[in-house]
Structures are given as structure tokens and as C-alpha cells.
Symmetry: C2
Subunit: 273 residues, 2 copies
């Protein structure tokens, strides 16, 4: 999916919500535990109930890999039921030397047909380039994550006074464009969004950490929106585990709708609709 | 496998060779292309031919993931034919927020039963800790990699004058011990090994980049060996693709044996045998 189509979808749905499919078999409602593939069945019902409110789904690979071949199969079936106009982010946080990253790109872009994949920057340019060689696919590079460990290295000051995450942004924008790169910027560090926007005013940002991790949507919008909207805000557990009863899909839809309405309001306030 | 058993194996085999199973279906000899699972068949024959010279195997997950469920199955079957006393490193370069890293740890330590997994440091402590909570399993953290992209961030100078990879080492040794952590240090930057050894004199280092990527084994040994040997030197393509004819396993064994003999010599010179 290209940037124009993503923006069009955001405006049509009045939403920049990404739903994280971090589906843990142990957290799936009892009512589904007897089905042939509980993970897929759960995802399918979540997707059907929420697709009108979300512009993107983000399955986190860890939850599927922990189930081995079966998990990989659940993931593949899940991706097949995501409506074709919805953006798919494989949250994989991969990267390796060039010839190996090429294999990961093949796995996520060719085999699973994801629109985007999250990438860790530590190994530098040649570990990222193979992902950028695909047209209308996206590399979503970790810049500033939402976890406490972001303090350890991402917020270290370099000799020139900038934070490591700023150096990652400044370097990475020489590798790709705002048409094939996005950056992960955690909402729990929303005050840093202004610094991010100074370096990457045009790029889309994928923002985790709203909801269960404590970030504020209004604050993210205030500091992160640009003229193309430029934000995908992710919520995982808060939506998909809104209820663990028979009403789990309905509860997820209700939660997603609530967030979508907030987003529509923020888009309107910023004259983006 | 614990550190003492690993050292014992190294001394018994007079080798600190790790063989990378970066098995690309397109590079498998024609003679195997018709078998039911060419990747597994190739790995099996490589392992049988080389296990006497290698103390560790390191399948790189990217090559298996690129084949989807089938690749995951080939990997599982491969791990099952590695002799039980040989160290298994899942080269996955994973890391995510805590609850997600826990899922990856489950995938690699519980499901695949690897002894070790490679981990990217960018997301910091809580992304690494779940892997360290397993006893007699190992976290192999990227410090200084062998690719050209290591220049981009790993070799950036911090405000205190140290390189980022040195900060990663200094920080990471507060998370684990030399009984459950190793570090990846590329042989193509062997001159940095001395700096690494100043910070982590006791830890095992996993050294890629010898062979196809151009690093020198003697130089690595000179700067990297410690009283426990403390090195696993990896070679992948140079060994597994030594021939693409019917003699591929024999050629791989010959190449592995040659490296093992060099290693025995270096161990002897350093009075480690």
C-alpha cells in the first residue's frame, strides 16, 4: 500500500488506529478454546468486529512463533481475513547482515504479504536496505520505544549532544523516503515527539504505548500529527482483551470505536478531515 | 548447556568452531532437490559430516522463516539430529518489550530447545531479561557486528568518549553473568577485540565474519582467547557451501576439519589444551 492510499483510508475511516494482534493462547476466551485453531478464530472475530474502526493491524510475530508451525499457520490464516484495503504491519523487529535481512524481507513481504515490517536499527544500513528494495512496502524502524529499556541506549547522549534515537532518525532518512519508511516512537515518551518531528516532519510514525502502557492520545496527536496525519497509533491488549467472556469481540469493537471517535475529534480539531 | 560443559566439549574436540546453518534452498546441491525436505536433508548430512569438528551449530532463523511453516518444520527436524552434547544457537536477533520477549524466549528455549539465542540490544534491559530467566540457557547479545552497517551506530562515540558497543557491553554485564550471557563481536573488526576483552574478560564471545566475510582466525584468537577459551568462532557459507556437487558433505567436512586443526594449533599455542 502506498502513502496516498493509507492517508485516504485514514480520512475515510476518520481513524489512525492500529490494532495489535498480540494473541496469547492463554488469554483467549474459554468459548473459543475448543475450536480447531483458537488463535485464528479469536483474531478473525476481533478483525470482523473492529475493521471499521482500524486502518491497520499489527500481529506481533513473537506470539505466533511461540506456537511453532501451528502459530505460523494461525498467522497466515489471520492475514488472509484482514480486508485488502487495511494496512498490515508484521511486528517482527528483525534485522541481520544484508544477505540474511533479504531472507526476512522475503518472509514478510513475499510469503506473508505484509505491507510493513518493524526493524531494529542496531546493525545499520545494510541490515535495513533489503527491506527498502520492495516497492509500496514499508520499513518501520525502531527509533524510541515505549518500554523502560529505551533509557538504556536510545536515550544515551552522543558526543555531538544528540540522543542515540535522534542519530538513528537522522541516519535512516538518508536510506529511504517518507514513502517507504516509518518510525516507531513510543507514546510513553510523548515529550520527545517534538524532537522527532523536527527531524522527520513528513514521515509516518507508528506509536505504541497508548493505553495499557500509559501514553496519552491527545498528547501524541498534539505533538505528532502533520499535514498527512502522519500517525498510526497502536493499541493491543486494551482492545483485544477488553473482555474475556463470550462478548470479547463486541467489547473489543466498543473499545476500538471509542478510540476511533477520539481520533476523529482530534483530526477535526487539527483540520485534517 | 552450562559453561563448564561447553568448555569441556571445546577441549575434547580441540575446536571452538560454530557452524552456521544459513541454508538457502536455492543453494542446495541438485542431488538433494528432489528429496521430501531438501533443507533438512542438506542440514542432516552437513551435521553428520561435521559434528566431530564443531562444538556448536547456529541456524539462522531468517532462512527458515522465508519458507514459512515448512521452514519451521525443517528447522525443528534439523535441531533434532544435532547430537545432544553440541551447543545450539538460534540466530534470531530478536528483542521486544518484556511480555513479548517472553514469548520469543518460549519459542526458542522451550519449543525449539536451543541452548542460546542471539538478541539485539537496542530496546534495553526489559527486552533482554526474559531470556536470562532460563537456567543453563544463554543470551548472545549483539555488541559489534561484522557487517558494514556496524559503523552506523555501534561505532558512534558517546558523550563520555566510549563507543556505543562498549556502552552496550558495560550495561549488559549488569543484567547477567558470564554463565548466561555471551556477546557477538565481529571478526572483521578484530582490532576492537582488545577493547571488548577489557570490558568482558570472562565472557564467551561469538565471533562471526571469519571466512566469507574476511576476518582472520589467528587475529581473533590472539585478541579474544581467555583462560576458558572464551570464543566460539562461526563460519557458515565457507563450510556449508564448500561444494555444490554430490560431495557437498565431504567438502564441508574437509573445510571444517581444516579450521578445527588451525583451532587446535591456536589452543595449544595458548596452553589451553
Amino acid at each position: 500500500m502506498n502513502k496516498q492510499d493509507l492517508i485516504a483510508q485514514i480520512k475515510a475511516k476518520r481513524s489512525f488506529l492500529c490494532i495489535g494482534l498480540d494473541t496469547d493462547p492463554h488469554k483467549i476466551p474459554k468459548v473459543l478454546q475448543e475450536s480447531e485453531d483458537p488463535v485464528f478464530e479469536f483474531n478473525k472475530q476481533i478483525i470482523e468486529a473492529t475493521a471499521q474502526y482500524a486502518v491497520a493491524y499489527k500481529p506481533n510475530l513473537a506470539f505466533y512463533e511461540a506456537q511453532g508451525e501451528k502459530g505460523w499457520q494461525s498467522l497466515r490464516k489471520t492475514l488472509a481475513v484482514i480486508p485488502p484495503h487495511v494496512f498490515i504491519i508484521a511486528d517482527a523487529k528483525r534485522a541481520d547482515i544484508g544477505n540474511t535481512s533479504h531472507q526476512y524481507a522475503k518472509a514478510f513481504f513475499e510469503d506473508l504479504k505484509a505491507d510493513a515490517v518493524t526493524i531494529a536499527p542496531y546493525m545499520g544500513e545494510d541490515s535495513v536496505k533489503p527491506f527498502l528494495s520492495y516497492t509500496e512496502r514499508w520499513t518501520v524502524l525502531l527509533a524510541l520505544t515505549s518500554n523502560s529499556g529505551s533509557q538504556d541506549f536510545q536515550l544515551k547522549k552522543l558526543a555531538d549532544g544528540s540522543f542515540l534515537f535522534e542519530e538513528v532518525l537522522k541516519t535512516a532518512i538518508t536510506w529511504g523516503t517518507d514513502q517507504n519508511m516509518m518510525f516507531v516512537v513510543g507514546a510513553t515518551n510523548a515529550s520527545y515527539l517534538q524532537r522527532v518531528r523536527q527531524i522527520v516532519p513528513m514521515h509516518f510514525l507508528l506509536v505504541p504505548g497508548v493505553g495499557a502502557q500509559g501514553g496519552s492520545l491527545a498528547e501524541v496527536a498534539q505533538n505528532g500529527l502533520n499535514k498527512d496525519v502522519g500517525l498510526l497509533v497502536n493499541s493491543s491488549r486494551e482492545i483485544i482483551y477488553a473482555s474475556n467472556g463470550v462478548d470479547f469481540a463486541e467489547a473489543a469493537a466498543k473499545k476500538a470505536h471509542k478510540i476511533q471517535l477520539e481520533m476523529a475529534e482530534l483530526l477535526q480539531q487539527n483540520e485534517l478531515l
